[in-house]
């Protein structure tokens, strides 16, 4: 797979990460935190919603322990992503630790849907993860440094991440020989959006999905 093809794969994430990263950087600047903290947070934490949460907690002067617990709970969903990647990363070298570190919602989505030959997989996965992190770092530092001087109205561009998830849902639906999980997830997602509190919606819906998968394993595997 050529480098150009890999970059093309990551463009939707770039369209989401740069503006979202900028929003994060802007917020950080509003809290009067120096811009280089945006850089360090995006390099080391590298979790979109986790970093926004950290800013909220900074603003309310939460203790470091509280920040640790809240971040852990918020990002617990990533455990499910890892669970789906165990076989995929199994034969990779030590570099897989960077892949595990960089397993965000969007990176997971791209890795899971990209079709790569086995011998190329490690290299391509590393590039995808690295490019995604670069977009996030560039966005967050730009937001923190530039503040509100942005030349065009990019309001709404973060919808590219929603569209990315829609497209990848369709891809995974077509790829999978079992179709029931897709429809069950539609119901759970809708239910979660309506009834679960927004901050906890993702982790609760994912737990519910895992629960349904395990309890109704036989029925999920039967039929189409």
């Amino acid at each position: 797979m050529s480098f150009f093809t890999i970059v093309k794969l990551t463009i939707p994430v770039m369209m989401g990460y740069i503006p979202l990263g900028m929003a994060f950087g802007l917020l950080l600047a509003k809290l009067l935190i120096p811009w280089y903290y945006a850089f360090f947070m995006s390099v080391f934490i590298f979790a979109g919603s986790g970093q926004f949460l950290a800013l909220t907690l900074f603003a309310s002067q939460a203790t470091i322990l509280e920040i640790g617990i809240a971040t852990f709970l918020l990002n617990l969903r990533h455990t499910f992503y890892g669970l789906s990647m165990i076989s995929a990363f199994k034969d990779f070298s030590w570099k897989k630790h960077y892949l595990i570190f960089g397993l965000t919602d969007e990176t997971f989505a791209l890795l899971k849907t990209s079709e790569v030959d086995k011998d190329e997989r490690e290299r391509v996965y590393l590039w995808i993860t690295f490019l995604n992190q670069c977009y996030w770092i560039i966005g967050s530092v730009a937001g923190a440094v530039l503040g509100n001087i942005v030349p065009f109205n990019y309001q709404g561009i973060e919808f590219s991440l929603t569209a990315l998830f829609v497209v990848l849902s369709i891809e995974l639906y077509k790829k999978n020989r079992l179709h029931k999980p897709f429809f069950v997830a539609l119901i759970i997602g809708l239910f979660g959006m309506v009834f679960f509190p927004p901050q906890k919606m993702l982790i609760l819906s994912l737990c519910l999905a895992a629960f349904v998968l395990i309890v109704f394993k036989r029925s999920m595997e039967s039929g189409k």
């Binding site: 499910f80 165990i86 829609v166 995974l172 997830a185």
Partner: protein
Amino acid sequence: MESSYLIGSIVVATLATYATRIIPFLVFRNREPSPLIKYIELTMPVMIMVILVFYALKDVKWESYPYGLAEIIGVGIAIFLHVRFKNALLSIFVATLAYMILIQNVF
């Protein structure tokens, strides 16, 4: 804000985030994946992706004007284009552009 507070928080948030990502790899390090894990690897990704769509829409105000119409149209365009042309970049780009035009100029 004190730099020791900020640095301490960043270190803790980094470790907490990394922990959530590495846990499954540590737990299943030395074992052959069981049939249950293989089943979860097969079925969970599509469920995660569909749920992420709803997660991305969780802050939409459905009960007041414009009743999430921009989001519904945007998602509809993405689905239609992707089923019809199977070009991910095209579907995402056009859907996003339509959404931006809708929220900036129409609603």
